[in-house]
């Protein structure tokens, strides 16, 4: 099967699932959300096949260029979301996770980067760097999504105005716990990923890092996520400042991912 065929199938299913989920999120009806999840899972299966096909064809993990890395990040983000759904039955995270997955996979479909074929390009250190960074980013993005849910739940409880998302959002404790754990684990792995990247950069270019977009974006995102994590540790995550920093961290991480294209 052509990898492109499964990629486009996944893309189409993700798009359909995202539209259904977002269009019906405020209606309080469960059935459309279940349908959307079913379609997203079908997309996830096609996505998994696409990743598997790339591994078989190239004999290395799909992490060597922007389309592959974006596609793998999308796959990981959805896999984590699915695991959390099974555990906590959270539909509301779909407002953030589904469009994100769709966006990342669209990036995979529209950007055409050559595979890195140099020995340095596919060295173990490089693969480790991209693998850890990708997992870290997936964790951080899920942490942000649940952070937004925790904030929304806190506002609803404080203002006593339950709003249309009330039924979809799990308890405040669950949102806080998932967000904190995803941020803490994601941040640790992301840090290791960045360290591996610095080491790889040193070995291949004899410099620890240079000021390319992906590197600046990655470091800025690291700093911003550190601040967000600190806000969770000190229980000050409800502030507007933390919300703004979280949004900036998201932008920085996206810039870093897009920056891979210009490496």
């Amino acid at each position: 099967m052509s990898p492109n065929l499964t990629l486009y199938a996944a893309l189409a299913l993700y798009a359909a699932g995202t539209i259904v989920a977002l269009a019906t999120l405020f209606t309080r009806e469960k059935r459309p959300q279940h349908v959307a999840l079913g379609v997203m899972i079908a997309g996830f299966v096609a996505h998994t096949v696409w990743i598997g096909t790339i591994c078989v064809r190239t004999h290395h993990p799909p992490l060597t260029n922007l389309p592959e890395a974006a596609g793998f990040t999308a796959w990981l983000v959805f896999a984590i979301e699915l695991a959390l759904f099974i555990r906590y039955r959270v539909h509301a995270a779909s407002f953030f996770v589904y469009p994100l997955v769709l966006m990342l996979l669209t990036l995979s479909a529209v950007v055409h980067d050559p595979f890195i074929k140099t020995p340095a390009g596919i060295s173990r250190l490089f693969i480790t760097h991209v693998f850890l960074t990708t997992i870290g980013v997936a964790g951080l993005l899920i942490g942000l999504a649940f952070g937004v849910l925790a904030w929304a739940q806190d506002r609803a409880l404080k203002t006593k105005n339950r709003g249309a998302l009330w039924d979809w959002i799990p308890s405040l404790n669950v949102c806080k716990t998932v967000s904190y754990r995803a941020l803490a684990i994601g941040f640790s792995i992301y840090t290791l990923g960045i360290l591996a990247g610095i080491l790889w950069s040193y070995r291949t270019t004899a410099g620890l890092m240079d000021l390319r977009v992906k590197q600046v974006g990655a470091v800025v995102a690291w700093i911003l996520f550190a601040i967000v994590l600190q806000a969770y540790i000190s229980d000050t995550y409800r502030t507007r400042r933390t919300a703004v920093i979280g949004a900036c961290a998201f932008v920085a991480i996206m810039v870093a991912i897009l920056g891979i294209h210009h490496a």
Partner: protein, 419 residues
């Protein structure tokens, strides 16, 4: 085969009538035997809750209704004319709709209340155990429980609390998720506070501490909840260790103030505190609502939650009624088709015999012919039979009323000479 319900409920009869008809679980088996002993009853079940007493039967004819009313009159120990004012009688499709609505909580005093589904299940299971259900009532029972489940799952009609104590439980779950292992501090011995603590304690709380100005009363309440009584003057440390605080005292001033909560939260390390103020005048300083990590709800807030949930339930009830209508129609069609099956099979067999016999005679008369010619004649005969059968079968499957269906069935049997 007619389905019939004869009964009284909270809308048709006051409690003094209902209580005379109600049946204790220990008497259910005998009651079912009595009902089944009436002439013409094939299957029977009795639903007896605090809001209704109903005899649900499948019978060979509708003339069993009178004996059932007599039986109820005898049970109520009242004049028949008196009981008839309160009794309702439902037949066929109306029985299905009624049972589906009852089990879904749509006919309950508090619309959407979840207990009734369990009570309907228990009633049918008791009948099944007693061997009182025939095949028709068994199918109706299974379908009733399926519809009740579908209504609950698809509409979420019973998900939201419609009373103040349950609204408090719902909010506690929204804050803490699982209530297992939480600690509650009950300040005062007001009725509403006691009721709220009682509802919360059903969810696996670790400990309930009770503080009251009259310490004896605190001890009494603590014993009831298997909790611990604490001196009213010494409650502050408990604010730090408890997750939920319920204030329901008669004090004319605040007993929990902002400073108390600030100090408590400082030691709780990221754990939220839910404060429920059920007192009038209020016992918890309203300024606490502005503290991060503290969630304060007073009696009006909780009442508002309950009211808005009640409105939501009414919206869900409309969706549920639509589901019930669709399910009644679908199930009724299935029952009708099922009822017609023996006649249809017999009719098809009869015409097939005629077709095969006449075809054989015809082929013998026509002499040698090619395989194609033989096949064409066979096909012609089959198509003729199918065309002839089409409308009688359709009519049998679509006849709505049992009486109409029975007349049709007898007519068809007579016309086609079925046994």
């Amino acid at each position: 085969m007619p389905l019939i319900v004869v009964g009284v409920n909270h809308r048709t009869a006051a409690v003094d009538v209902r209580e005379r008809l109600s049946i204790a679980p220990s008497r259910m088996a005998d009651t079912l035997d009595e009902l089944r002993a009436l002439d013409g009853i094939n299957g029977a079940s009795v639903l007896s809750t605090c809001n209704r007493v109903e005899a649900i039967v499948s019978a060979s004819a509708e003339d069993v209704i009178e004996p059932i009313v007599d039986w109820l009159t005898q049970r109520a120990g009242t004049a028949r004319a008196e009981l008839e004012k309160h009794v309702y009688i439902l037949r066929h499709g109306d029985v299905l709709k009624h049972l589906f609505r009852v089990a879904s909580g749509l006919d309950s005093m508090i619309v959407g209340e979840p207990q009734i589904a369990g009570q309907v299940r228990a009633a049918f299971l008791a009948s099944r155990e007693r061997g009182a259900l025939d095949s028709l009532l068994s199918q109706v029972f299974d379908q009733t429980m399926r519809v009740a489940k579908r209504v609950r799952t698809d509409t979420g009609i019973g998900e939201h609390a419609v009373s103040v104590p349950y609204a408090a439980v719902e909010l506690a779950k929204k804050i803490f998720g699982d209530l297992h292992g939480l600690q509650v501090l009950l300040l005062g011995a007001g009725d509403m506070g006691e009721l709220t603590a009682e509802h919360l304690s059903a969810f696996g709380l670790e400990q309930i501490f009770v503080a009251n100005r009259a310490h004896d009363r605190a001890i009494e309440l603590a014993e009831r909840f298997h909790g611990q009584a604490v001196k009213f003057e010494n409650v502050e440390p408990y604010l730090a260790s408890c997750d939920i605080v319920i204030a329901s005292t008669a004090a004319p001033h605040f007993v929990v103030e902002s400073d108390h909560v600030h100090r408590a939260l400082a030691t709780r390390r990221r754990r939220n505190l839910f404060l429920i103020d059920l007192s009038v005048p209020r016992n918890i300083d309203p300024a606490i609502a502005g503290i991060d990590g503290a969630y304060l709800y007073n009696i009006d807030d909780l009442q508002q939650v309950a009211n808005s949930n009640r409105e939501l339930r009414m919206q869900k009830a409309h969706e549920a009624e639509e589901i019930v209508e669709r399910e009644v129609e679908g199930f009724r069609r299935r029952l009708v088709a099922q009822d017609a099956v023996p006649t249809i099979v017999e009719l098809q067999g009869r015409l097939e015999d005629i077709r095969a016999h006449e075809l054989e005679k015809c082929l013998r008369r026509m002499g040698p012919m090619s395989a194609d010619q033989r096949a064409a004649i066979e096909q012609l005969s089959t198509q003729l039979v199918n065309k002839i059968l089409h409308y009688p079968i359709l009519q049998l499957k679509e006849a709505d009323e049992p009486a109409e269906r029975e007349t049709l069935r007898k007519t068809i049997r007579k016309i086609f000479g079925l046994r």
